[in-house]
């Protein structure tokens, strides 16, 4: 109940943000919400199952291209919905086969398929449209884009919580712990995984569709940029993929960090990201939000006392 109230207050405050009339704040909040939505949608599937999906860039890019192709013909909400559905359809088709693979193979094939889609779209656009990129016309105002992204991100959070508590969420966690055992206990792993994968894809696709109009010109290399999925995975992993707070805190920290460092010191920023990625995998495997901070605190500051106690005992 308390969390629900907190969520509503945060949502209301965020929705009122355009009233500040500051393009800088709005643009930062937009980036932050985009990564929050991507990270939450990624955690929806990859958090409980442990399947490391690198397909977010592909979902995002497909959504963006739906906007590029449909914006002139269709109303805005339909375009965004269609972007999400295109990603879901793609997730369904590839999920049927790639969800049979596990471990690094799954990660590599989802990444490979994303690159395959990128290069296919580049080739198709070059051959049939004659250009690589597309210019966006009749774009909605930046406030509308902001509210759209906000709604998708909020929806992602609600879905994450509701889905996690449903029997499918429990089944996904069961698959993550031991897929064969889950299957023995009556879970149909393929169906549940496919459902989670498609659900998470919708949000990434819809975010891509909504964000596409931010760039007046898009090409496959911007919207299928592998950096999008790296940053998403990083945010979820550093924040903690098994908690809802983790991806949200992670998104806030990284958006601020990237806003201030990426433009002034782009290479250093990327090096810092790399170091953070390695350190978080090594020392915070459950993320900032999932880490046992009290345990660490006790380890550092109470170890001396414990050691003293042991020596005393020995002397006795």
């Amino acid at each position: 109940m308390k969390q629900g109230a907190l969520f509503l207050i945060a949502a209301a405050l965020l929705a009122a943000l355009p009233a500040l009339d500051s393009p800088f704040v709005l643009s930062m909040a937009l980036t932050c919400l985009m990564y929050a939505g991507l990270a939450v949608s990624w955690s929806m599937f990859s958090g409980p199952t442990g399947y490391l999906s690198l397909a977010s860039s592909a979902f995002f890019g497909l959504g963006a291209y739906c906007t590029a192709w449909g914006l002139s013909y269709l109303p805005w909400p339909v375009v965004v919905m269609a972007g999400g559905l295109a990603a879901t359809l793609f997730a369904f088709l590839i999920g049927l086969v790639v969800l049979r693979l596990r471990g690094a193979y799954f990660a590599v094939i989802t990444y490979g398929l994303g690159e395959l889609v990128k290069h296919t779209i580049t080739h198709v656009e070059k051959t049939y449209a004659g250009t690589v990129g597309r210019v966006m016309t009749d774009t909605p105002s930046s406030n509308v884009v902001y509210w759209t992204v906000l709604i998708i991100a909020l929806l992602a959070v609600v879905t994450y919580v509701r889905f996690g508590r449903s029997r499918y969420g429990h089944a996904l966690r069961g698959i993550g712990m031991d897929e064969e055992r889950a299957a023995t206990l009556g879970v149909n792993p393929m169906r549940v995984k496919l459902l989670g994968f498609c659900l998470s894809a919708w949000f990434a696709g819809a975010l891509g569709a909504a964000m596409a109009v931010r760039w007046t010109y898009i090409d496959p290399h911007t919207v299928f940029n592998p950096f999008i999925v790296f940053q998403t995975v990083l945010i979820s992993m550093v924040g903690g993929p098994l908690t809802i707070g983790g991806p949200l805190v992670g998104a806030l920290v990284f958006s601020l960090l990237s806003e201030f460092l990426r433009l002034s010191l782009p290479y250093l920023y990327m090096i810092l990201l790399g170091v953070l990625l390695i350190v978080s995998v090594l020392y915070l495997p459950n993320g900032i939000a999932g880490h046992d901070w009290r345990g660490t605190w006790q380890k550092i500051f109470k170890r001396s006392k414990a050691a003293d106690a042991v020596t005393e005992q020995r002397h006795e």
Binding site: G50, L52, V97, V98, L101, R102, G103, A104, Y105, A107, V108, I109, G112, L113, E115, L116, H119, T120, H123, K126, F230, V233, M237, P266, Y267, L268, M270, I271, L273, G274, V275, L276, L277, I278, V281, L282, P285
Partner: protein
């Protein structure tokens, strides 16, 4: 098809395949032995290329002189990385799948660090240091001398590794670890020494490939990425931990890419490689040469 053109394409395939073999053998050792999915493998190729290039530019000597010490440097870097990162990762991962996934993330981290450090140190694209750039004629077929050199060194390195694994006691130990990690430990093979050494060897091999490429191609900080993908395809084609399979896979991929791009268009090269990867992972995830 014109016979000479055919020979040209075969030679080009072999040169590409030779480089792929050297890169993939290192990755295969790392993945097969330690479940390290080193997505930054190509970055060490890039480092090898830049180091060789810089040394050649400073001293004006032949790049061949600098390849051995550069490989030693990368080997030591491999030992250091293993000690700092992968040892802890292996100790804290509950199973092989978690190890693979986490090493993949670490690999992306290393990739960010290496590419952007190279960008800071050397700047963007650089024309390579063409070495032995003259053409050699065999009857009607002309081949650039440096490509032949690349092919010869790559083939020699692959052969040397195969012999090392087949003929020496050390190689026997490594093959033992590939076949049965636990069994190898039980019969007294010291994995704590051999794992870092094999990881370092992987880096040294990637560096060798980079040093060779610096004689032929332009250098960019992201030049390693396509080779990582190719190496992944090759070890998937050849089968996990299968050394002869990886060499066959490398030549096969070289042929598919060269002939594929010749018949379609060079811009489709990446598309062809990824299609091969996806197809093999879906149809024969254990490799083409398994029974």
């Amino acid at each position: 098809m014109n016979f000479y053109l055919f020979i040209d394409l075969v030679v080009a395939s072999l040169v590409t395949g030779g480089i792929y073999a050297v890169v993939a053998l290192g990755l295969n050792l790392q993945y097969g032995l330690m479940r390290i999915m080193n997505i930054a493998h190509g970055e060490f190729l890039m480092l090898g290329a830049y180091l060789t290039y810089t040394l050649v530019k400073v001293t004006g000597m032949s790049p061949l002189w600098f390849i051995p010490p550069m490989m030693v440097a990368l080997f030591l870097l491999g030992l250091l990385l293993h000690r700092l990162i992968f040892r802890r990762l292996a100790a804290t991962s509950p199973n092989a799948e978690v190890m693979e996934a986490r090493s993949l993330i670490v690999g992306f981290g290393l990739m960010f660090i290496a590419q952007n450090a190279a960008q800071l140190i050397w700047g963007g694209g650089m024309s390579g240091q063409p070495y032995l750039d003259e053409a050699v004629k065999f009857g009607e077929v002309t081949v650039a001398a440096n490509r032949l050199l690349v092919l010869a060194v790559a083939a020699a390195a692959s052969l040397a590794l195969v012999l090392l694994l087949k003929k020496t006691l050390l190689g026997k130990a490594v093959r033992g670890m590939l076949q049965a990690p636990l069994g190898a430990m039980l019969v007294g093979i010291d994995t704590r020494k051999l794992h870092p050494a094999c990881f370092g060897l992987g880096l040294a091999l990637a560096g060798l490939a980079g040093g060779l490429l610096s004689m032929v191609y332009e250098l960019t900080p992201s030049m390693g990425e396509p080779y990582t993908i190719s190496a992944l395809i090759v070890i998937t084609l050849g089968g996990l931990g299968n050394i002869p399979g990886a060499i066959a896979g490398a030549v096969l991929l070289g042929l598919v890419e060269t002939f594929g791009t010749y018949y379609t268009s060079p811009s489709l090269k990446i598309l062809i490689s990824y299609s091969v990867l996806v197809l093999v992972l879906l149809l024969r995830p254990k490799g083409l040469f398994t029974k």
